[in-house]
């Protein structure tokens, strides 16, 4: 059997969830007793548009191995157009991180509605697995923040 050196590695995943859709979606997956990895730390934001590019970089700085941003589906934003702006902003940010050589699978954006508890759980499972495969975040980490 092949031994993967990352077998014991458990990634830290930061999920920014918008208050109106994705956070409720996460709640639904809980009330439905669906499992999703405990690696995921949810940060509730009023709208996906609230997420400043610095939030994402700071999450990496403070030890996240992957960052996922969840919001309402385009057209369903509680504030009408917030997530359309998010979409442009985040596309550019992810593209820039890729340009700087940061592994592109460490970042993701997913639209999750309040009714999609199952999708939330499945997305988190999938994303955690993908980041686990990548190993610890070394390219965008702050050594001063590394846990001993």
């Amino acid at each position: 059997m092949q031994v993967n050196e990352n077998t014991n590695f458990e990634p830290v995943i930061v999920a920014f969830c918008c208050n109106w859709c994705s956070y409720a979606g996460a709640d639904l997956s809980g009330t439905n007793r669906l499992n999703y990895p405990t690696n995921v730390k949810i940060i509730r934001v009023p709208c996906s548009c609230r997420v400043n590019p610095m939030f994402i970089l700071r999450a990496f700085q403070k030890g996240a191995d992957g960052v996922i941003l969840c919001g309402c589906h385009p057209g369903d934003c509680h504030y009408t157009s917030g997530n359309y702006f998010t979409r442009r902003r985040i596309t550019l940010l992810y593209s820039m991180l890729d340009f700087l050589g940061i592994e592109r699978d460490r970042t993701r954006l997913e639209w999750v509605s309040a009714a999609e508890g199952a999708k939330f759980a499945a997305t988190m499972q999938e994303f955690t697995d993908a980041v686990r495969k990548l190993g610890p975040n070394r390219r965008l980490e702050d050594l001063r923040c590394r846990k001993q």
Partner: protein, 326 residues
């Protein structure tokens, strides 16, 4: 050209159209030139200069200057007019208080490139049919003209003045991206592997000494309170203590001007460590052009900036994961 500009400045000062002039002033050395405000004809006669080294973009100074009493005369090169227009659009410059005279652009020269050839004690330069004749303390030296051109002028995007009240010289034209080749280096990087890109940027950004010159000179960076001056930002140090801070500073610096950067190239020009900072800005410009349609910041004062706007059919961020080299 310098003479025509001095005459124009004196004339406008004399007839009361303006009460100040912003231009360039010679420093201790011929290549050591700094933007300056002149108030009298005598000051202009003594110090005003416009030559191969007057590359500085004076648009940003007009944010403060246009809020003072009276009108100011500004000499703007084509690339400066884009920055000027962008600032007018953002209501940072009071347009009525500025009298813009368009002057022909570069190419301007980079003294560092001349010095790199081992030529020192520069007293003056002259371009003769593609050969740069340099008068120095130790006699005359020559070098190919194109080798001494500033990086930002090598990939000039436009010779057209997008705004002016008066024009000295002739109207130029916009240069297409293919002709200027300004995205060539970005493309080259995009075609590298992630590891190579990471290594490239680590090598470049680790040179950063956090002097903030790129931020201070940038005509798009005009916030009164900058996020980098916030002690709680985690990146307000005088020197980057960790590679993360270097990455963070440069990503955020470029991101904050995304969609507003006119690609004037001042950031790279002033960088004392010669970091190709304009590549980060150009990456954003290139992405915006590819994802949301061609957009040139500063070209007009009416269109909405790409990040202030949206379209219901915009591409999803997953497009980043699907294209290019991993």
């Amino acid at each position: 050209m310098q003479e025509a500009m001095i005459n124009k400045a004196k004339q406008l000062l004399a007839d009361g159209t303006v009460n100040r002039v912003i231009g360039w002033k010679r420093g201790e050395f011929v290549y050591d030139i700094t933007p300056a405000v002149f108030e009298t004809a005598e000051e202009i006669d003594a110090d005003f200069v416009c030559d191969d080294f007057t590359a500085a973009n004076v648009s940003k100074y007009l944010v403060k200057e246009s809020r003072k009493e009276g009108k100011i005369l500004a000499f703007l090169k084509p690339c400066d007019t884009y920055s000027f227009n962008q600032l007018v659009k953002e209501h940072r410059i009071v347009r009525e208080n500025v009298y813009v005279v368009g002057i022909p652009g570069g190419p301007k020269l980079d003294a560092e490139k001349i010095k790199a050839k081992g030529i020192t004690g520069i007293l003056g330069v002259k371009n003769e049919n593609g050969t740069l004749k340099i008068d120095t303390l130790y006699g005359e030296e020559t070098m190919p003209y194109y080798e001494a051109i500033l990086g930002k002028c090598e990939t000039c995007k436009s010779r057209k003045h997008v705004v002016y009240d008066e024009l000295l010289g002739e109207e130029g034209e916009v240069i297409s991206a293919e002709d200027s080749g300004r995205f060539d280096m970005v493309e080259k990087l995009e075609n590298m592997t992630a590891q190579e890109r990471y290594d490239f940027w680590r090598e470049q950004l680790s040179k950063c000494i956090r002097c903030n010159a790129c931020r201070n000179v940038c005509p798009a960076c005009t916030c009164e309170n900058c996020v980098f001056d916030n002690p709680a930002s985690g990146i307000s140090n005088k020197a980057a203590a960790d590679s993360f801070e270097e990455n963070m500073f440069h990503i955020i610096r470029a991101f904050h001007v995304a969609g507003r950067c006119t690609d004037c190239g001042e950031c790279s020009r002033v960088c004392p460590q010669n970091i190709p900072l304009h590549l980060l800005n150009r990456k954003f410009i290139k992405d915006i052009n590819a994802f949301y349609g061609e957009y040139q910041a500063g070209e007009d004062t009416t269109s909405r900036a790409p990040l202030n706007n949206y379209d219901k059919d915009d591409c999803e961020p997953s497009i980043v994961h699907e294209r290019g080299v991993e």
